[in-house]
Assembly symmetry: none
Homo-oligomer: 198 residues x 4
């Protein structure tokens, strides 16, 4: 009688993660209820708690997975033979392909300082810090190679992330959603070239 549905047992964990990911992205952390997640995942509410001790842990797992995935994408794309800006834009291009899947989560993690005490203050910044550290390493190299102007690599990496997030943000209706190509072009314009007339 289980044959009718016939899901491999290990499916359930992934289903939960994906449903939760979508919910967090769409409604935010607090506004997402465990009922919602269970319903969306097509599992019982109790099932979630067999995988994750609580809501917070579920959220953290999503964030952790995201970091790993982003790193993997970056590593896969990076070509040491190419100049920094090519690599940077190349990676952005790859990441943008995933935008539908986790772009919103990136945005969420950026936007949500919205957490009670339980959700450890800096906990969320794990994502950003991890990304920034990663980029900063490459910025350092690029500076050393004279490929970009001299600057604080950490701060520059941070500004890059913010600009990327600003351009890809779909939530605020402050600007039209940009397609991948536009994001790349504008990123190059604002981040690399600058506004000043030469």
């Amino acid at each position: 009688m289980e044959t009718m549905i016939d899901r491999k047992p290990t499916d359930r964990r992934k289903q939960v993660l994906e449903a939760a990911s979508r919910s967090f992205a769409a409604f935010g952390y607090k506004a997402t209820t465990m009922d919602q997640v269970a319903k969306a995942a097509g599992v019982g509410k109790g099932t979630i708690y067999t995988f994750f001790a609580n809501k917070e842990e579920l959220f953290e797992q999503i964030v952790k997975d995201l970091i790993a995935e982003l790193k993997a994408v970056a590593e896969r794309t990076l070509d040491p033979a190419l100049p920094f800006s090519d690599n940077l834009l190349g990676i952005l291009q790859q990441v943008l392909a995933y935008r539908d899947r986790h772009g919103l989560v990136v945005k969420l993690s950026q936007e949500v300082k919205e957490f009670g005490t339980p959700m450890a203050k800096g906990g969320l910044e794990a994502v950003e810090r991890s990304i920034v550290d990663y980029i900063a390493g490459h910025v350092s190299d690029a500076i050393a190679k004279g490929e970009v102007r001299r600057s604080d690599p950490a701060l520059t990496a941070y500004m890059m992330l913010k600009m990327y997030l600003a351009l890809t943000a779909e939530g605020d209706h402050l600007h039209e959603p940009l397609d991948a190509e536009q994001v790349l072009a504008h990123f190059r314009f604002y981040c690399l070239e600058g506004l000043a007339v030469v």
Copy 2:
């Protein structure tokens, strides 16, 4: 004997606004409880409701005040005789002076997309939209005068705001807090000049 406390009776509304402002900035909208605000303001819970019909209205008032204040600062500082970048940096400089008072709120309003149905959908974006519109107008002028490179004024204004907020953000411990002078210098560097070696 009253001299120790000695608050003008009309203080209370302001006390509430300031305590709420701090709380919203520190914990976000949802995570801020009215009890908290009352305690922080040193007033009874009911007192808040004599001034504001509900939590949402309290929040909106803070946002509204902020917009007004920012506009006032900008108008006061703007000198049509000066070139765009000077005005831009001048205004930033002025606004930065207020950072302690409401910088956090700016950040909050940017970060909190975290609202259920009650908090009118785009309602919060009022702040950003208002600021962006304002800047966009001046960007337009600057482009017309050839003071900056040709670009979509709205998008450029939006990116400027995001960069400014990124640099002044104190919440994320992703970079050391910068003092006013540093913010200005970095803003010039990242926003106007760009990273690319010339």
Copy 3:
């Protein structure tokens, strides 16, 4: 400078009683707020508390006054020379003239069992009991004189009150509001004559 309003100081207590009376009748006990009463009476909220220790006491006073007023009306109208049914209808006629002023309160006192523990359980029934006792006395006499059929005077009095209240009730939209004359006619029909075909 007080001359502009120029109310005799003793006015205030009566103003409060009347405003409260109207409010209780219109909205019920719980749904009537002290703010409402104060506003309607044109006095400060605190003023109410100089006359009445609390909301309950205010209500009780209204009830007490009402009883007294009803008794006075009855006494004034009663003519021992007339037969019972004439007196009964005569008194009803008098009381009906006051309907605008306190008819609603009578109804309220009947309808509102709606009281927390504070409002002593049977406390409200004071009105009804007082009225019933009064009528019962006269029913007794009437029975003794053979003017009405033999019955339990208390129960008959009680039923009379209920019928009267049912006919004068304006709150339920179960029947069209009846004018004084109609009330009298119907009271005679239902209470004295009965439905049965003879």
Copy 4:
């Protein structure tokens, strides 16, 4: 070991309805707190909300059930072959059998006009209107058949209900509680025969 408690899981909804019914009858709508109901029903407060969206809906359900039950009783008892007064008294007799179970609720619905805006204005009168309409239909027939004196059927039905409620009321300690037989006898006396000596 479970035998002592041994409740079928589905019991809970009914437990809540019954506890609420008792509480509403005893204390009224406003004075009944959800905590009280939960405690009285022996369930958690949240449990109530799994069955009823809110307090108002809980109340409405009780009222609705009551109407349905009363109608069912009436239909079951009605015998078109019998004269009106027999049917009327027969139905009363049946309804009286229910008195112990929810007679108080009937009374409540009659007494509580005590509702702010939330509780839909005439919403509560649904019970009475429903009952009155039902009786009125039968009164019409009875008049047509010459079984009772000519009168406005709606008003007569309304008066009958009020008299019935007055006689069965247990809340007011204005008269001794009557047993079923007494209620019937008195109803016949006051409603059908009238007080006047023939």
